[in-house]
């Protein structure tokens, strides 16, 4: 004991350092390190590709399952089939004698509730975002943001129960609608569900527009309102458009709420502005019918065709939002 300590002291005094491990790796250690690094990289690559692969697989699967609806009667029949699917409003896929697969009313129903919900959610969401980013005191803002984000975490079936049990009777008794489950009911609930997305993305965009352009605007003698409306909003417009599109995607893809609240009558409201009529959406049709439909029948495949339509729609919207987000990053990055 005493010997060794005196020895090392002697060595240090002599200027010789002793390393705990040898400086050079042995061949096996080197090899092991090589394998571990590449295995690790490979594992991370696989986990990263799973989600990308999932998107591709979903596309392939949905296309593969929907094609038979258009093709299995022969090529000559496929054009009338597509035409019926997109232009007829007669949706009777379950009929024994002559089923009909006209999805026009359903497509329009989906767009109808989406547009209506956005007409409510966009103004409210934008005003709330402006308030939070520029007007609210710091403490209030710190409190409001998480509360708004809780809205996004409430399960959609809870909204649905509210729509059927509270909103529907209220509409019948107070507004005098004959049926409480209708386009207005679904739109109201959807707009509440789209709000948190719109508010938080738009608020981020407005905040990111920066303090310098606001101060420059004030310096030029603009009022607070002028600064907000004429300077900050235009500067953040691409982020705001992305926020609206993200909110729209939330509304288009929502299923449970519209299945419970919209009434599911497959018709186009007439007159077109009559929100008290019940409509049916693409998502609700799939949710309501896919459960019991016999496999590999026309009805089964047409539901996948509806799914394909939804997928193409959300894909397009997603591309748009990516584009605007990219524009937004470019603008803020340059500043």
């Amino acid at each position: 004991m005493k010997d060794s300590s005196t020895q090392s002291v002697q060595k240090q005094q002599a200027g010789v350092f002793e390393f705990a491990r040898p400086l050079c790796l042995t061949a096996t250690e080197d090899f092991r390190g090589f394998i571990a690094a590449h295995l690790g990289q490979g594992l991370l690559f696989v986990t990263a590709s799973i989600s990308v692969l999932a998107v591709f697989l979903i596309f392939f699967f949905v296309i593969g399952q929907s094609l038979p609806f258009f093709l299995n009667r022969g090529l000559a029949e496929s054009v009338p089939r597509i035409k019926e699917f997109l232009t007829s409003t007669q949706w009777y896929p379950q009929r024994q004698a002559g089923p009909e697969y006209g999805a026009r009313a359903i497509i329009i129903g989906s767009l109808y509730v989406t547009v209506c919900s956005l007409m409510l959610a966009v103004p409210i969401g934008l005003l709330a975002a402006i308030f939070l980013s520029d007007i609210a005191p710091f403490g209030l803002r710190q409190f409001c943001k998480p509360v708004i984000e809780i809205l996004a975490a409430i399960p959609s079936v809870a909204y649905g129960v509210f729509a059927v049990m509270v909103l529907a009777p209220w509409m019948q008794n107070t507004l005098g609608f004959s049926s409480g489950t209708n386009a207005l009911n679904a739109s109201l609930i959807l707009s509440v569900m789209a709000l948190p997305t719109i508010i938080s993305v738009a608020e981020d965009a407005l905040s990111a527009a920066g303090r310098d352009i606001r101060e420059a605007s004030y310096a030029l003698g603009a009022t607070r309102a002028e600064t907000m409306l004429l300077v900050v909003l235009p500067a953040a417009h691409s982020g705001i458009v992305a926020a609206i599109i993200l909110g729209m995607m939330r509304a288009v893809g929502e299923t449970m709420v519209v299945w419970m609240a919209s009434g599911n009558a497959s018709r186009i409201p007439s007159p077109w502005w009559d929100l008290s009529q019940s409509v049916r959406t693409l998502t609700a049709t799939i949710a309501g019918e896919l459960g019991e439909v016999p496999k590999n029948t026309d009805h089964y495949h047409v539901l996948f065709a509806i799914g394909l339509l939804l997928l193409v729609f959300t894909f397009g919207l997603n591309m748009c939002s990516e584009y605007f987000m990219g524009q937004f990053r470019k603008i803020t990055g340059r500043r």
Binding site: T89, Y92, V164, P169, Q172, S178, G263, N264, S266, G288
Partner: protein, 270 residues
């Protein structure tokens, strides 16, 4: 350790033995009868390996014909063509009526209408009659509520009322009996249809062709929107066999309780 292994071995032997001893029972057919089949199968699971697949009455008949199943569940009697095809293949279908299915037409409790004819109900669902005053009620728009098209209740209603006519575009669809009940309960002008088990003081069942739906009228078949539910076997099953026990299970107290619990009416005459 050794005793543990020995225990596992004996348990394993018992399991293998019981599976080998149990008979297989394949049941195919109607989605309407399916819940009864499932509940019966639950009771029989110790005696036999029962598989219930709900693929529709037509497929049940086809499966019996092709020997793919031992018992076919059907919500209708076999069609002449199916019967003939089966006999040609040497299969002799025998029907066992195990329960009655009645669909009650319900309206909001505030609605003074107490009865409709089948034709009137059909016109309402086709969208030809749109106001209660056309059938002797108050001046109020009719809100037509149907079950989703994949439910057995819808299938029954479509067969017994619609007679292959299409429902109108204004028909609203809900996806369960409780939801149909809730919508009719809260909507003044609503008309809907539910199983007998869902009629209570909040929704009013109405007479159809002058007959009030209740257990008696449905069991006797005098209520127009009622139909028997069948099990079909190839020939009358051998007495005491597992198929025989299954097809006569509806006569036991337990079987009748299951049928009532599933919202159907047992075939009894008292």
């Amino acid at each position: 350790m050794k005793t543990l292994i020995a225990q596992f071995l004996t348990i394993g032997c018992v399991l293998v033995g019981s599976v080998a001893a149990a008979e297989k029972l394949q049941i195919d057919g109607s989605t309407t009868v399916g819940p009864i089949g499932d509940a019966f199968a639950e009771v029989f699971k110790d005696k036999a390996a029962v598989t219930v697949s709900k693929t529709g009455s037509g497929d049940g008949a086809a499966a019996l014909m092709e020997g793919r199943c031992d018992i076919a569940m059907m919500s209708r009697f076999m069609k002449n063509a199916e019967f003939k095809a089966a006999v040609d293949k040497g299969i002799m279908p025998v029907a066992h009526a195990i329960a009655m299915d009645g669909v009650c037409v319900v309206v909001n409790e505030s609605n003074p209408v107490t009865g409709l004819t089948t034709e009137q109900i059909r016109s309402i669902y086709k969208g030809e009659i749109t106001n209660w005053k056309q059938v002797g009620g108050p001046d109020k728009a009719i809100v037509v509520i149907s079950r989703d098209t994949s439910s057995g209740t819808y299938e029954t209603f479509e067969e017994l009322v619609m007679h292959k006519e299409k429902m109108g575009p204004a028909t609203e669809y809900v996806n369960s009996n409780p939801q149909a009940h809730a919508r009719v309960k809260s909507t003044e002008g609503a008309i809907g249809y539910v199983g007998l088990g869902f009629v209570d003081r909040y929704v009013k069942a109405i007479k159809v062709d002058g007959v009030m739906p209740d257990r008696k009228t449905i069991a006797r078949g005098t209520y127009p929107l009622s139909r028997p539910l069948f099990l079909f076997t190839n020939g009358y099953p051998k007495l005491g066999s597992i198929v025989y026990q299954f097809c006569t299970f509806h006569l036991t107290e337990e079987g009748q309780e299951i049928i009532e619990a599933k919202g159907f009416v047992p075939v009894t005459a008292y």
